[in-house]
Amino acid sequence: MKRSSIALAAAMALLTVAGGFAADRQKLVWLQWANDGAQKNLDAIIAAFEAKYPIDIELEFKPGSAEGENLVKTRIAANDMPDLLSFNSGSLFQVLNLEKNFVDLSNEKLASRLVDSFKSTVSVSGKGVYGIPYQPIPAGGILYNKKVYAQLGLKVPKTWKAFIANCEKIKAAGKVAVIASYKDDWTAQLLLLADFYNVNVANPKFAQDYTANKAKYASTPAALRGFEKIQEVFTKGFTNKEPVSITYDMAQAMLASGEGAHYPMATWVLTSINQNYPDKINDIGFFALPGDSADKNGVTLWMPNNISISKTSKHIDAAKQFLDFFVSPEGLAAYMSVSTPDGAFAIKGVKLPDNVFPAVKDILVYVDANKTAPALEFLSPVKGPNLPQICVEAGLALKTPAACAVEYDRDVEKQAKQLMLPGW
């Protein structure tokens, strides 16, 4: 304790020395992901904010992988968090001991602007709001090439049967019906994860029972469907040749060029497609992962990452001002002045411009009809670390879907025990 107070004093002394040069402008340090797709949009918000308030924002970058997570945990343990942090929402964020390390924003005016489903991913068992949405809401489902659909006269499928029928026609036309990019193994999970809306419709208590160790993937037919779907597209020959040598980037090229018709993915890929194939972005559409019934068709939403304020910050009020500006109409206008967002914002009363990507418009149809469900990882802290590999096994038919489900249930068990959840 004594040592840490000495360290704090030393750090403060350093800070005051450093602050002496900045005159009357305060400085906030923001620990941010390197190479974020929307960095230019965020820079626009920062510029607008700096022009309005006597506060400067300095970016410090962290890697996006597990290395970045470790870095954040290390700096929390070393009592050395910058003022602002961008981080994943949901189960990953919960691990950081929010009540102890981050500032609760639930009494601030900005909290009333946030959508409730987002708030639940940045709170501790329903209490407090520890972050603001940092990006538009990503949606998971099937991205498809509209030109291929127009050429073959296909309609957007609402059931899995219709989807398979479409795939047959695309295959007959000599194209790849479903793009599989298993070299980046995380992409293999999307068919399963985006299927959660259908699981939730069939079994609304699944997430709850799953957390309490009462429901399993292997014993819940609706949940097992996810693994079955991953395998079915392979065994019926809809996927491209050699899925394990195709990367996420190559898959985007196939989708954009129309060589492949469907890509099970979430909408965060749109920024990347727009970077590399700006003339093709309008050919890309989106539909929700089809379930078994046409009138119960809806989309699985991921929750946006968040920005939070560290409790060790010396400028908590300035940081609050920044977050308030970030979610204000003025801040969002600055964001949208650079490029159109690749999804809806988790902020109330925001109107998206008319020139958003067509795929985003497709999502808004589901959102406006309230046919959405959050992905399982935002409803339950239980997510096994080996899901990508297990999905690849299912996707290459190395194991039966049932065997994959059993394997994943076992994988999850270790993690649930580590979190010391009741019932495990």
């Binding site: 040592r3 840490s4 000495i6 360290a7 030393a10 750090a11 350093l14 340090v29 992901w33 390197a34 190479n35 974020d36 797709g37 300095e58 970016l59 410090e60 970058f61 962290k62 890697p63 996006g64 992988s65 290395e67 870095l71 290390t74 700096r75 343990a77 070393a78 009592n79 050395d80 995380w186 990367t247 996420y248 980037d249 190559m250 985007q252 090229a253 965060w268 890929v269 920024t271 990347s272 970077q275 590399n276 194939y277």
Partner: protein
């Protein structure tokens, strides 16, 4: 005659293999560094439709307010200073440990070996650095880099010193050298080959270090060369062409270093291996 043909064939195959193993990845990096982001995303070894090295290099240099230039400066300073500290300290330690025989030395020897075997812990190290005010400073990182390479360097120095006869020490004392004179004027110059080896091996590992700067030297202005690579990759968006261009740029200094000192490395590595 047959034997000779066989030998030539084996040699040709070996050279071809070496070229394939080292040349293909390198040519992959070189060709992709000159492509557009669209072409590079296809991950192919085919030559670029139109090469744009200058454009990519200047884009890499301009990223985040010329971060790379600052990174080069930082990495160079860190490498030079930590090598200087390392050689100064570990050569003296190696000398004393080799020449003096006492019980304390065997304990110190054990501690040095422990330094080789026990992995460093990050968080306690940060506490220590903070408590002495060296956290987030270049000096702090330089000390860490020197400390991490210390045990291995001491071992190398000890091995080499074993080949330098004790009679030399005695003769110097008779001629009126003090202990310090002996080390500075006689022993240290004799250890040049092994000092060169240590300088080369560690400077490359320090220059290319990623993990230690990431944890011990955070801050926008404290970036080192390896950290700049993260400007171009993330989970959902990659700029492979710029990544490869950055790799090319940051591997130039170690490459030059290696080419210039190549001979010294080999001679230093075997120095002290055979005692006469």
């Amino acid at each position: 005659m047959k034997r000779k043909i066989l030998r030539v064939m084996v040699e040709v195959i070996a050279v071809a293999l070496a070229l394939a193993i080292f040349g293909i990845p390198l040519s992959y990096v070189v060709t992709n560094a000159g492509k557009t982001s669209v072409e590079a995303a296809q991950m192919s070894i085919a030559p670029a439709a139109e090469t744009r090295y200058i454009k990519n290099f200047s884009e890499v240099l301009a990223t985040s307010n010329h971060m790379l230039l600052r990174a080069f400066l930082n990495s160079t300073i860190i490498t030079v200073v930590s090598i200087a500290m390392l050689i100064g300290v570990s050569s003296m330690a190696g000398f004393v440990m080799e020449r003096r025989k006492s019980r304390a030395i065997s304990w110190i020897n054990f501690l040095v070996l422990a330094g080789l075997m026990i992995p460093p812990a990050v968080v306690p190290t940060i506490w220590v650095l903070k408590s002495i005010g060296l956290y987030k400073t270049m000096l702090g990182l330089e000390l860490i880099e020197a400390a991490l390479a210390f045990p291995f360097s001491v071992l190398l120095y000890r091995g080499y010193l074993g080949a330098i006869p004790r009679e030399l020490d005695e003769a110097s004392f008779i001629d009126g050298c003090s202990g310090l004179d002996l080390f500075v004027k006689v022993i240290f110059p004799l250890m040049k080959p092994v000092s060169a080896t240590i300088a080369i091996i560690t400077s490359i590992s320090v220059f290319n270090d990623f993990v230690n700067p990431l944890y011990f030297l955070p801050g926008a202005k404290n970036v080192t060369v390896q950290l700049t690579l993260y400007n171009y990759i993330s989970q959902y968006l990659n700029k492979w062409n710029l990544l490869f261009a950055d790799i090319l740029l940051i591997s130039i200094p170690p490459l030059i270093f290696f080419i210039v000192f190549n001979k010294k490395i080999v001679s230093g590595m075997v120095a002290g291996a055979v005692k006469s």
